[in-house]
């Protein structure tokens, strides 16, 4: 199609953008990499020295690291399970013709517009607070003892909050996919003797599968770096019960002033995220080819 000449011109013209993006990524990455090999503590400025892989050794053998790794996995998996199943169910419901459809759809999307810190605080103080929270009042009204969510089920509480935030996103994407399904296919399945459940399993779900993988990919990228919700609710505690990798890196570098250790943690997080990304891209690639 393009001549050699125009191809060279094209490369020349996109090069500023590519170089800018590359620099934007390379500079912080290489600085983090460099810091991760230093004994660099903000409490003793000017005393930085090269310590090789000590930071990594320290970070990877820290019991907090394994707790955080497990929590990160649980957080991502828990939120994905809730948002995907809930999203499919809500999309199916919202696709039904009903009175006030437009308003209901806007209400469903609303949580996505609330910023993470605000929604986490609303949940913490208005719903899950053991004294004043709505859940506590509800429990008392039924004669039960109020449940202290953040003390006894900190990770679960955070999963609930984050799932609440991301449910609209999944619902929105899955709803649009559902609306693009050819109605004649459903009618053909009806003629072929498929009941509601079979139509869902054999026609609707395969039609949605591509969008579901896209939702999984996008959400995973964002869920691996959940931070604000943890900071304003549990501060990673009690103990390390609700600390994920992101929060651990923050705690290491800014609460313990250990920039070197934090940088090492950051690099570990980058490696882990890339391993996850490889698996996800393969899964998506398979699904997009079909």
């Amino acid at each position: 199609m393009a001549t050699d000449h125009s191809r060279i011109a094209a490369r020349f013209m996109i090069s500023p953008a590519v170089l800018l993006l590359l620099g934007w990524m390379i500079v912080p990455l290489s600085m983090t990499l460099y810091f991760s090999f230093l004994d660099y503590n903000l409490l003793s400025p000017g005393m930085e020295e090269w310590i090789g892989f000590m930071n990594y050794e320290y970070f990877l053998t820290d019991p907090a690291f394994f707790a955080a790794l497990g929590n990160t996995f649980l957080l991502v998996a828990g939120v994905l399970v809730i948002t995907i199943t809930g999203g499919v169910a809500l999309a199916l419901l919202l696709d039904q013709p009903m009175w006030g459809q437009g308003i209901v759809r806007i209400l469903v999307i609303a949580p996505f517009f609330v910023m993470p810190t605000v929604s986490a605080l609303v949940w913490k103080n208005m719903f899950m607070n053991p004294v004043n929270g709505l859940f506590a009042h509800a429990a008392k009204a039924m004669g039960l003892a109020p449940f202290d969510f953040f003390a006894h089920a900190p990770l679960f509480s955070i999963i609930m909050i984050v799932a609440w935030q991301w449910l609209p996103f999944a619902t929105l994407i899955l709803l649009t996919v559902l609306q693009s399904l050819d109605k004649e296919q459903l009618e053909a399945a009806k003629m072929d003797g498929a009941r509601k459940m079979s139509r869902f399993v054999h026609i609707i779900l395969p039609h949605m599968s591509r969008a579901i993988t896209v939702v999984i990919l996008i959400q995973t990228i964002f869920l691996l770096s959940i931070f604000a919700e943890i900071l304003v609710t549990t501060n990673g505690g009690p103990g390390y019960a609700s600390t994920n990798i992101t929060y651990l890196v923050y705690a290491q570098s800014l609460l313990q002033f250990d920039v070197g250790g934090g940088s090492a943690g950051g690099i570990v997080a980058v490696v882990l995220a890339n391993i996850v990304a490889i698996f996800l891209m393969r899964m998506i690639g398979k699904n997009l080819e079909a």
Binding site: E184, A189, K190, M191, D192, G193, H202, P206, A290
Partner: protein
Amino acid sequence: MGSITLENVTKSFGDVEVIPPLNLEINEGEFVVFVGPSGCGKSTLLRLIAGLEDVSSGSIAIDREDATSIRPARRGLAMVFQSYALYPHMSVRKNIAFPLKMAGLEQADIDKKVDAAANILNLSDYIDRKPGQLSGGQRQRVAIGRAIVREPKAFLFDEPLSNLDAALRVNMRLEISELHQDLKTTMVYVTHDQVEAMTMADKIVVLRAGVIEQVGSPLELYRKPANKFVAGFIGSPNMNFLSGEAAQKHGAHTIGVRPEHLACSRESGMWKGTVGVAEHLGSDTFLYVTLNDGSNFTVRSDGNVDLNHGDTVYLSAEPENIYRFDENEQAIG
């Protein structure tokens, strides 16, 4: 197996009555074509028979048994959709097997029936492909395959050829006709193309605005149209109509003459006019003639006619080929 009876069936969408009370008898083994201009309710009628729409009142009986409130799958009918409605994520084999799987058949039985259907329709070479990798005609055949494996009491076709190109349409038309000869199953076919109706049907049902204008065999409709609408709709090119003085001479409000029944002459005839466009097709010549009173006539003449743009021409027709209609557009005599 496979008679369908509609009794006083009506259908309304909200306040709009799409089909006023309608009665129709479809006999066993017949090839019935619903034909009419778009928006005449023919597809709605088919969907009522299929059970994809509920009737507003009246009853539908299949094989003399009331089927009005039976769900689509239990009616024992198979439908081929305009968009084919193949399941895109399933191979051809799985598409055809789907109704059998839903019916809970043994895998061995399913395989046997699918292979048989694929053989009849020449699909064996593509059996493991996905619908996206097939051409329009092949997709059409898969859709038909999915219908025939169920061994239904009747087939319902909803404009199945409208997405195909002209050459393929003629081919598929023949294949469907042959399929009907082989299976001897009742077929109900919806189309807006009167050529499809004429070539395939045992019985044509002409619809206008949800009302049946006439039911009959193709030649009955051609020779004895019940009214002006049917006369104008059946036959290609369309019938020519004249009203006013020329019609009163024949004792009618409007008269109609088919293009193939007009004879042209340079010297004398019933109507004088000027040739507008002459299409020389070799076998036939189509002349578009403007008569002196301003009305336009189409003439189908043999290939040797030597008339061209601007020539004066006299047209005439045998009295038995002139169709007469009264003020209400009903045929006289």
